[in-house]
Symmetry: C2
Subunit: 259 residues, 2 copies
DNA sequence: CGAAATTTTGATCACGTTCAACTTCAGTGG
DNA sequence: CCACTGAAGTTGAACGTGATCAAAATTTCG
C-alpha cells in the first residue's frame, strides 16, 4: 500500500483514540485512512443509555471520542461493581467483544460520541496490517493492568489510599488524551459512580473526599477536581505511573528472527 | 511458507499453551512449528523464585508448561495483593512485558517448567503471521476479564461468595488445559496465597473454607479440592462461565472489507 | 417553582482484621 | 525410630473500620 500523503480533517488533531495509539505505535497517513474507513457509524448516545449488556453477544469496537461510560457487573443482591471507567480514547468492546457473550455491561455516564466499527472488520484490517493486531493486544494489556491496579486498590489499600490512587490514575489517563490539565480535570460523574468503582459505600466515599479536602490535598467543586499537593497524594496512594512500551517495528522485530 | 507436514513430538498433546490457543484459533502444523522455533530456552525454576520484579524491565513471554505462579504487588505496609494465579497454559509477561517497566512481580509458587521467548521475537512472528498478534490480543483480553471478575469478587461479593467463585473459576481454568477433573483439582498453594489472592486475612479465609466444608459444598485434603455440590456452589458464587469467541479467519474477516 | 437527584452529616452495629495461642504435619538429624 | 524444627493450618477473643440506615442540606433539572 502506497503511503500517499493525506490531508487531515479538522477533527484529527483531537481524536482521542489516535492520540492514545500514538503513544505506543507509529501511524502513517495510510494507517489513519485505513482506521477511519472502518468507522461504520458515528454514534451519539445520551446519558444512561446501555451500550453493552451482560450476557448478550457484542461484536463491535466503539472508539470513544467524547464522554464517559462505566463497565460494570450487577449482582443479584442489587450491588454494582464498576470494573472500569471508560473515557475518551478508550475502546468499548475490549474485552467484551472477544467473548461468546459479554461478561459485563457498559452504560453511558454522560452524553457520548462514539465511532463504531464491527469487530470483524477490524480483524480484517489486522490481517492486512498486523500492526493493528498488535495495537489491539497492547490496548488489552493496558486494560488488564489498569484492572489489576484497581484490584490492589480494593483488596489491600485503605479507602483513602484507594481514592487518592484512583484520582491520580484518572488524571493521568485524561491527560494522555489531552482532556486534563497538569493538576486538574473534570470528572462529570456522581459520587455513587465513584463509590461503585472503588467498592465503598456512598457515605464513606463522601467522608474520604471530605478528608482529602480538609487535609488540603485536593479541592472539588461541581465535579471538577484539583490537586493541591500532588506529592503528598502520590505518597499517600503509593502511586507510580505505568507507561506502555512502544510496539517493536517489523524491522527491529525481525532482525534476529528467521523468516 | 509451505505448510509441510510435520511429525509431532510426544509432548505436543500435553502442551498446555497449545491446548489453550486451540480453544479460540486454528493452528496448522506450520503454526506449531513456528511457535516452537521461538522457544529460546526451556526454563526449570524452583519454588519461591522471582520471575518478574515490579519496577524492572521485562521483555519476555514465558509459556507455562507446568507449575503455578502468582502475579502480585507488594505495598509499603507489607501487605500483598495477588492479582492473578498463573497456571499451565498461561503466559508470564502478559501484561508486564508490554510496559516500560513491569508494574507487578511474579513469583513461582511451585516448581515450574516454562518455555521462554523474547517478546521481540514473538512480535516478529506476529508481523509474519498476524494470527498470532490477534491471539496475543485474545489472551490479554482473557486476562483482563479474569481480573475484572476478581474485582467484582473483592469489591462486592462476600468472603464466602468470593471464595466459591474463585474455586469454580480455578477448576474451569485448569480443566481447559486438561489439568483438572470434572469436579476436582489440585491447587498446591498455601492458604496464605489464597488469602492474598482474595483480599482476606488468613484466619478468615480458613473460616470460610471450614464453612464450605461444614455445609457440604466442598472437601479439601492436602490441597486437593473437590466439589460436593457444584450447583449450590455456583448459586452461592453467582457463577457463570465466560468463553472466548473464536478469532475470525482471514477469509471471514475480509469478506465484506475493502482491501 | 416544585420535584428529583445528589451530597453531606449522624448514630448504630456487624463483619472481618488483628493478635495470639495451639495443633498438625513434613522434613531432618540425632 | 523418635525428638526437634519450622511451616502451615486451625481456633478464639477483642477491637476497629466501614456498612447500613436515616435524615437533612444542597443542587440540578423539568
Amino acid at each position: 500500500l502506497p503511503a500517499t500523503p493525506i490531508r487531515l480533517t479538522r477533527r484529527d488533531g483531537d481524536n482521542a483514540f489516535i492520540n492514545r495509539l500514538r503513544t505506543f505505535v507509529d501511524l502513517d497517513a495510510a494507517d489513519r485512512v485505513a482506521l477511519r474507513s472502518l468507522v461504520e457509524e458515528e454514534l451519539a448516545v445520551t446519558r444512561r443509555r446501555d451500550l453493552v449488556v451482560d450476557g448478550y453477544e457484542y461484536r463491535k469496537l466503539g472508539f470513544v471520542r467524547d464522554g464517559f461510560a462505566a463497565r460494570y457487573k450487577l449482582l443479584r443482591n442489587g450491588k454494582r461493581q464498576i470494573v472500569g471507567l471508560i473515557m475518551p480514547g478508550d475502546v468499548i468492546g475490549i474485552p467484551g467483544s472477544f467473548f461468546d457473550v459479554a461478561s459485563f455491561s457498559v452504560v453511558a455516564l454522560t452524553d457520548m460520541n462514539i465511532d463504531l466499527c464491527p469487530l470483524e472488520q477490524f480483524v480484517g484490517l489486522c490481517y492486512r496490517r498486523p500492526k493493528f493486531a498488535l495495537a489491539l493486544g497492547w490496548l488489552a494489556a493496558d486494560e488488564a493492568t489498569q484492572c489489576a491496579e484497581r484490584l490492589v486498590d480494593i483488596g489491600r489499600r485503605t479507602p483513602i489510599e484507594r481514592l487518592s490512587h484512583f484520582l491520580l490514575e484518572t488524571q493521568a489517563r485524561l491527560a494522555a488524551v489531552g482532556r486534563a490539565g497538569e493538576r486538574s480535570f473534570d470528572l462529570p460523574v456522581s459520587q455513587e459512580v465513584l463509590s461503585d468503582a472503588l467498592g465503598l459505600s456512598v457515605p464513606h466515599l463522601n467522608r474520604m473526599l471530605s478528608k482529602l479536602r480538609k487535609d488540603g490535598l485536593i479541592s472539588v467543586a461541581s465535579r471538577h477536581f484539583e490537586f493541591l499537593d500532588v506529592r503528598a497524594l502520590q505518597l499517600l496512594a503509593h502511586y507510580r505511573t505505568a507507561r506502555l512500551a512502544r510496539i517493536p517495528s517489523p524491522v527491529a522485530a525481525n532482525r534476529r528472527a528467521g523468516s
